[in-house]
């Protein structure tokens, strides 16, 4: 049992990543290095704070009157929260004991031996599939695509058999990069091949995190990339919808 974790920050009013009001915990540390990352300040443990489950319990207890209604609860984000699997599982268990729902916002790189224990305490998985071809995924994120796909498959399998966790596939839409027909085709094929069909959240890329790169004295690799227009977003959404997927805007 892991009683402490490395926390980057807390956002107590999340209204977009699951039902009800959600308290979002940004855990520190990430094993990917996405070129369009909005939170590069969460990559390392530098500047993070050690936080005990006990302290988070006190905090959540105070916020219960806000969070408990309409399926509200907590969201673990980051960084990559599954890099602290022991702590994360305990955190989610604790939330369930408080009758709060749990949402996991992940890049899908959880170590295989923790996957089933983690999924057992997760109500919703928001899985980032940043690219659907091996090469592009590696190039964009520095991480392997395969582990992501496996994680999604296992989540969907559990969802189909046990009714939980709900799976949502997310993609940050980078115009001209991961919205090509080859990319979208593969993405759709994967989604449709799962035991239960996930909804797809298409998030238009934006450059609001660029200043953080600067603060960290790093060069922002996507400096000239324009966010997709309504048209480009619509085209990608239409493509996936035609394949029979449910698409919404993130």
């Amino acid at each position: 049992m892991k009683k402490t974790g490395q926390l980057h920050s807390i956002e107590t009013l999340g209204t977009r990543d699951g039902p009800g009001l959600r308290c979002v915990f940004f855990l520190s540390g990430c094993n990917f290095r996405c070129k369009f990352c909005q939170n590069p300040d969460t990559w390392t443990l530098k500047g993070s704070q050690k936080i005990s489950l006990h302290a988070l319990y006190d905090r959540l207890l105070r916020l219960l009157p806000y969070l408990q209604k309409d399926g509200g609860g907590i969201t673990a984000s980051g960084g990559e929260p599954s890099l602290q699997p022991g702590f994360l599982i305990e955190l989610f268990k604790m939330a369930h004991n408080m009758e709060l729902t749990t949402v996991l916002d992940t890049n899908g790189s959880c170590e295989p031996k923790y996957i089933s224990r983690l999924l057992a305490v997760t109500d919703t998985v928001l899985l980032d599939v940043k690219a659907s071809t091996k090469k592009l995924h590696k190039e964009l994120t520095g991480g392997e695509l395969e582990q992501v796909l496996v994680f999604g498959r296992r989540a969907a399998g559990r969802w189909a058999r046990q009714g939980r966790p709900v799976l949502v596939l997310r993609r940050v839409l980078l115009p001209g990069i991961n919205d090509t027909s080859e990319e979208l085709e593969k993405f759709a094929r994967y989604a449709l091949s799962l035991d239960k069909q996930p909804a797809v959240e298409l998030i238009p890329y934006h450059s609001l995190g660029a200043h953080k790169w600067k603060e960290l004295k790093m060069k922002y690799p996507f400096a000239g990339l324009k966010p997709p227009g309504v048209k480009e977003w619509g085209r990608a959404a239409e493509f996936l919808k035609k394949k029979g997927l449910t698409v919404y805007k993130g």
């Binding site: 920050s9 807390i10 956002e11 107590t12 009013l13 999340g14 209204t15 977009r16 009800g20 009001l21 308290c23 979002v24 006190d58 905090r59 105070r62 916020l63 009157p65 806000y66 969070l67 209604k69 309409d70 509200g72």
Partner: protein, 742 residues
């Protein structure tokens, strides 16, 4: 076919003046949704258009349309006045012309003179002579009594904004009484009271006898005022229109007689509803007509004006009068006080567009009917014109029938008043503690006996001791100053019209206040958790502070900071209780600044939390701008933890959020706002202003005020037209935390 109007259900209220019982017997709780509401009629719109034109003229003339410099204001000094006589359902203006302001030199003749001059008018020499030669004014009397210390505290801005140079206001007459009982009955009752006041003619008995005599005169004047507008106020109102008209005229009498800083109108909604529903059931009124009456009353209340001196405007920006109306709430026996008329009042914000007045205040409980919560949340999101206060917290103190005075102050209807006392500048108190009792601006000795601090860095324990010493000393001076002001106010500027509509023996509160709350909490945290080195000038006075390291700040649900906040509030009220108070009033405390946080900040030096000299404080009990690192709920939770039992005059929190942060679409935004309110009030928060706005919109309004004549924003316990604020105030609002989406 009109049926017979059913008489009201009888009860204790039939035997004696007891509005609470009347409401208890005759309330029509409404649990449905807003679908029954009606839009404005053609007549309403035409009338409103005329008024909007006048508002526009007023704006163009720099904020004041006209002043009557010849006749001192009083209940029957002016009138009758109309906007458009044949098209008004509810009549009565403060003077003979709309938006024309009367002078009230009895408050302070020099102030009135200056107020006139600031607007390009000249007070009539005759009035000037009367109030200089023959009749002492409130302002003159206070200053003839003040001690040297009091004057110093005032002029250095330590205890300031006091009602010594403007009328105190804050009293809420029970304006419903004439409608329910008729003035003839109320006069008889007061006469009976007068006979009974004897007590061997003690000083207090003499004073009360004189006051009740004044009250009787005021009631008789109200009869005359009624006649001017063709209303026989001696008898009870017979129908809904009369009930609203009678109530409004009683309020008008008060607004004509006195120019109190805040003059709330109290719990009128549920009262009107009893009449409106009775008439609708009898078939003599339709929903459309019922809404028309409420719209018409609202138009009148939006036109209440007082002439203010420039100093006043700096404290209370946006020309407010705080015609606060309470809506909603629950009764002690578990019914809701939400009626169709509460919906109708909110509907005025749709029918007439958003506006700061009347100051619509929802007495909130998570148990309020879902339909009402949803409607209110929607109006909040669209207009940013509503505030919410915790009914579950206040009902146990006040019972079922209470009003909100000004912004956040609880008053039992009909039986309680408060003596308003502005506030003490707490960051200045802290600086006195760091500077051997000397003021940080001029180095003048204010508090004797404060030990010099040792060491290069501020040491928490020493600072705490000094600060406690200063607070104790100031609290005593504060009470003494208030004792002077209110003794004088009662004598020289007595609110006879308002007091005439209250019980003769009222329960009195004395309302003290603090400003700069979060600045002090964060400063104490900085001293305790970081290293703070004061930078001192030649005289040894702190000019700035160098802070090394992190420290917890108020507004992050961090117990280290929040506990300091609790302590601060509790210790301040505890100190206030140590000095005897005028007329045995009970001390209460508010954490409310209205808009004075800007002015107070301007006159206050740098503070150990890193706030620069001259920059504004956060308003009310709000965390300091930009220091909330954990989002909305953490910020709200810090404020909701502050102990209401120690700050019963109210704890004001102003919350601004951009629409998209509340949720992706209108439906979710409403649902989420309700969840936030439910949570905040369950956690014990007392008050919250809700603004749902984009910053860009405000920036645009600063540049193009003409495009946004109705843009309303909640500031601290009340709302203002954003474009009526000074540049300083506008900039302060933009600095505030606008909670954004991730």
């Amino acid at each position: 076919m009109p049926r017979k109007v059913k008489p009201f259900k009888k009860g204790r209220w039939t035997l004696r003046t007891d509005l609470q019982d009347f409401i208890y017997q005759n309330i029509n709780p409404y649990e449905g949704d807003a679908s029954f509401l009606k839009g404005p009629t053609k007549r309403t719109l035409a009338l409103w258009k005329k008024v909007e034109k006048l508002f526009d003229l007023e704006r163009k003339k720099g904020g004041v349309l006209d002043i009557d410099t010849e006749v001192a204001g009083g209940i029957i000094s002016h009138g009758p006045g109309y906007i458009d006589r044949k098209n008004e359902l509810i009549t009565g203006l403060q003077t003979d012309k709309p938006l024309k302001r009367a002078v009230k030199p009895v408050g302070g003749v020099r102030l009135v003179e200056r107020a006139c001059e600031a607007r390009g008018y000249k007070l009539s020499p005759k009035l000037k002579e009367i109030y200089t030669k023959y009749r002492k004014s409130h302002n003159d009397a206070v200053f003839s009594i003040y001690s040297a210390e009091m004057k110093k505290l005032r002029s250095l801005g330590i205890i300031t904004g006091l009602p010594d140079s403007y009328a105190r206001g804050r009293i809420i007459g029970d304006y419903r009484r004439p409608a329910l009982y008729g003035l003839a009955y109320l006069i008889k009752e007061k006469e009976k009271d007068l006979i009974k006041i004897d007590d061997n003619m003690s000083t207090m008995a003499i004073r009360l006898r004189e006051e009740v005599s004044d009250q009787l005169q005021a009631l008789k004047d109200m009869l005359v005022l009624g006649k001017m507008y063709g209303c026989d106020l001696s008898r009870p109102a017979k129908n809904a229109r009369e009930a609203i008209q009678w109530t409004y005229l009683a309020y008008l009498a008060a607004a004509k007689e006195s120019d109190g800083a805040a003059m709330s109108i109290g719990p009128i909604s549920v009262f009107f509803d009893a009449y409106l529903e009775r008439d609708i059931k009898a078939g003599i009124l339709t929903e459309e007509k019922a809404q028309e009456l409420i719209d018409d009353l609202t138009i009148k209340l939006r036109m209440i004006r007082q002439l203010r001196a420039p100093e006043y405007d700096e404290l209370f920006a946006g020309d407010p009068v705080w015609v606060t109306i309470v809506l909603g709430g629950m009764t002690g026996d578990g019914r809701t006080k939400v009626t169709r008329t509460d919906f109708r009042f909110l509907n005025t914000l749709q029918n007439l567009g958003p506006a700061p007045e009347p100051n619509l205040t929802i007495l909130y409980s998570p148990r309020l009917p879902a339909g009402f919560k949803k409607f209110a949340a929607g109006i909040s999101i669209n207009t940013s014109s509503i505030q919410y206060e915790n009914d579950d917290l206040m009902r146990p103190l006040a019972g079922d029938d209470y009003g909100i005075s000004c912004c956040v102050s609880l008053l039992k209807a009909g039986s309680q008043i408060q003596y308003f006392g502005a506030r003490c500048n707490l960051p200045k108190a802290l600086l006195l503690a760091l500077n051997e009792g000397r003021d940080e601006k001029y180095g003048e000795l204010v508090v004797p006996g404060v030990p010099k601090l040792k060491g290069r860095y501020l040491e928490a324990e020493q600072v705490r001791e000094n600060f406690n010493y200063v607070v104790a000393w100031l609290a005593k001076q504060y009470v003494k100053t208030m004792n002077v002001i209110h003794w004088v106010h009662d004598k020289y500027y007595y609110e006879a019209a308002q007091m005439a509509l209250l019980d003769t023996n009222v329960d009195r509160l004395m309302a003290f206040g603090i400003a700069g709350f979060s600045v002090v909490v964060d400063s104490l945290c900085a001293i305790r958790y970081a290293k703070v080195r004061p930078v001192r000038d030649k005289k040894g006075i702190t000019r700035d502070f160098i802070i090394r390291g992190d420290f917890p700040c108020f507004g992050n649900d961090d117990e280290r900071a929040d506990n300091r906040g609790r302590d601060l509030v509790v210790s301040f009220i505890t100190e206030l209780r140590k000095t005897p108070i005028y007329r045995r009033a009970n001390p209460t405390l508010s954490i409310l600044t209205i808009t004075s946080n800007v002015l107070y900040g301007k006159v206050t030096g740098a503070t150990p939390d890193g706030r620069k000299a001259g920059s504004p404080f956060a308003p009310g009990a709000n965390p300091m701008f930009g220091r909330e690192k954990n989002g909305v709920l953490a910020s709200l939770d810090s404020v909701s933890k502050l102990p209401y039992y120690a700050a019963q005059d109210g704890i004001s929190n102003t919350f601004s959020i951009v629409p998209s942060a509340l949720g992706v679409d209108a439906g979710i935004q409403k649902a989420n706002l309700i969840k936030i309110l439910d949570g905040y009030f369950t956690r014990g928060g007392q008050h919250i202003n809700v603004n749902v706005l984009d910053k860009a919109l405000l920036q645009d309004a600063m540049e193009h005020p003409e495009k946004y004549p109705q843009l309303t924003i909640r500031v601290s316990g009340y709302a203002v037209h954003f474009t009526k604020l000074s540049r300083d105030h506008q900039e302060e609002i933009l600095k505030r935390t606008f909670h954004e989406a991730l």
